[in-house]
Subunit: 395 residues, 2 copies
């Protein structure tokens, strides 16, 4: 009875749902403390105390009719958008104003809004494997075609030679995600310069506009002083999708924004389309209380040191067991080489030790597995003896 | 540069945007108290005090990692869905459980989720004019075809003879909205029985399943003791889309739910598809704090008496001026016959008196105008002399 397009998606999604259920089932049998669930990117560091303070202030100071009302523009409260623009300008020396910012229902909402705004059926959207699997669904929502660049498993920087070959006159957008889910890799400034040079040349060659969509929910989650270049400064046709899900630990609240700079081709038209797309896709506007909260918390940071300690403990622990993995500079994921040729077998083997991890094929990179280390430090410490036992099956 | 599908929508939406801007411009010149803006369905009754109390309790009692985190299921918190089901069962003697409820980003989000789940390109979705113009956009999002039943301007109950003729083997869904935007009419039980009998017969005739989608953000907004039949009790293939936007005055917060009953054909499959659609359309889950708030406020009501007083004052005032209008039993709209053949001319004439109203053609019913009376009582009282002047141009 359901739509044809949904049938495959429902079938494929059951693997992930099965993992949720498996975690709950195992916790019921062995106790939650004996289950090592590295499957989900759900921050375990609580939102900064300032979030709670912001809510209390807003409930006290704001007219509830405005605070919980529709925003005048579907793009969000003008004061919030202005505050976001000012904060970006201060941090990145950019030149955004109210009109360049569209508040969105998280980064997922923002990506849907911009793809709805840009994509005609058959248009191509390029993503670099490994990539967040939802990019394929989002592109498919608008009958676009996701074109995959194969993974560079040496350092997980994008393969620019293959990229250059796969750009066609139908290429409408390129999605990058740095710091990256699932690898934790940050694209270097050198990478960005080369990548955007390829895009400039191809725009010239084909007489087209190719948009660089920077999906950056992990921008604030970096370690060892890593720098994440701000992409609008390298390429005019850049559109930024941001989320406060990880930086303020508000993933369930669905709040983020799009930046559509003046420098982008037909910027005014795209902004108008994104405004309308926000409405007709059923978002209507980003949740209003959350808009006001983030505007009050623009200088707040999540406790990176917690994730950093987890990163060190899990990375070092796994290396000691004999696993291969590059050390991530950002996000809260480790992307580990599967010691079994079929990484799904390895995930199944891990489950015997109550370790839940996600196969790399979910990210278009089979042969690897993703571990989300946004879990308690104790979970990591207690999991390491289990990983040691698991390793003995292979090394 | 934008998608072809968006071009028309951007062009058409600028009329509404122009109205917003006009309101702001007029308020700047004449003062907000001298502008009579009946254009928007944005509740002016504040959220019940219980909403604020719920937030304070939640901030105190709940683990922020859970309160602001992703929900385990994209369909929402199990406890919230269970509480919604129990509340509906108690009120309407239904038999829903956790699994039948999907928390959504308002009714607009819910309608997009269910249409994405059901509609194949070319499938037909029937709506009865006058109807909320967004139904056309939502249907178009999934390449469905909106089929319009012409308005019955006698009492604005649906034209069931035309309905019967326009159902085809491609009819996948029928959207009803009662209490209705823009007329305020409540479909009588007799209407519902006849309407669903037509659908049953056509299902039988064509061997198809035709879903009745009940969009009911105005269910709680009824006057004079009007009863709004609960549609799942009249027709198995009913899907309910609800929103707390009006009943709790939370339109900006984007919180509502879908009910997909066990009785609907392939209910399990549709529930699974709606869960996936929630994720891939970029909603991910309904805003989590708001989910918990509404679960605590299921027995709260907005101040209907405020809207009722407005209804009486505006209805009686307009009748005295000579305008024709049926008295609404629900929602917070009056649908008034335009004294000019072209109602857009009438809207333009009203603007001269700083009165902002929406042309009926936005609801597929030209020759009428919609007035949203979710404004302050003073606005209504002060507008009446202006309406009197406006009337003199026609009567």
């Amino acid at each position: 009875m359901i739509a044809e397009k949904m049938k495959n998606m429902v079938a494929n999604s059951s693997a992930i749902r099965a993992m949720f259920e498996e975690g709950t089932r195992l916790a019921g049998i062995y106790g939650a403390e004996n289950v090592f669930d590295f499957s989900l990117g759900n921050p375990n560091v609580p939102a900064p105390e300032a979030v709670k303070e912001a809510v209390l202030e807003l409930l006290e100071d704001e007219d509830p009719v405005v605070l919980h009302g529709y925003t005048n523009s579907n793009s969000g409260y003008a004061d919030v958008r202005g505050a976001v623009a000012a904060s970006l300008n201060e941090r990145f020396n950019t030149n955004f104003s109210v009109k360049n910012i569209i508040m969105t229902v998280g980064a997922a909402g923002g990506l849907n809004v911009i793809l709805k705004s840009l994509i005609n059926p058959g248009d191509e959207v390029i993503a670099f494997a490994p990539y967040f699997g939802e990019y394929r669904s989002y592109t498919n929502n608008y009958d676009g075609v996701l074109v995959e660049i194969s993974p560079n498993t040496v350092d997980f920087q994008p393969k620019l030679d293959e990229f250059e070959q796969k750009i066609t006159p139908k290429t409408k957008a390129v999605i990058v995600n740095t710091p990256n889910n699932p690898t934790g890799v940050v694209y270097s400034e050198e990478t960005i310069k080369k990548l955007t040079a390829v895009m400039e040349a191809k725009q010239e060659e084909y007489g087209t506009e190719i948009f660089l969509i920077s999906d950056e929910p992990y921008r604030e989650l970096v370690y060892d002083g890593a720098e994440v270049p701000y992409l609008t400064k390298y390429y005019d046709n850049t559109i930024v999708g941001y989320s406060y899900s990880k930086s303020l630990s508000l993933p369930g609240e669905r709040i983020g924004y799009l930046v559509i700079p003046d420098e982008a081709a037909d910027s005014e038209e795209i902004l108008a389309a994104a405004n309308v797309a926000t409405r007709i896709l059923g978002f209507v506007n980003a949740p209003t209380l959350q808009q006001k909260i983030v505007a009050k918390c623009l200088n707040e940071k999540t406790d990176i040191s917690y994730y950093d300690r987890n990163r060190e403990a899990l990375y070092n622990g796994l290396k000691e067991c004999g696993f291969e993995c590059i050390k991530p500079e950002g996000a809260f994921y480790l992307f580990v080489k599967s010691p079994a040729a079929d990484e799904k077998e390895f995930c199944a083997a891990a489950k015997k030790y109550n370790i839940l991890i996600v196969p790399g094929s979910s990210f278009a990179c089979p042969g690897y597995v993703r571990l989300a280390y946004c879990v308690s430090y104790e979970t990591i410490v207690n999991s390491l003896p289990k990983f040691k036992e698991l390793a003995k099956e292979y090394f």
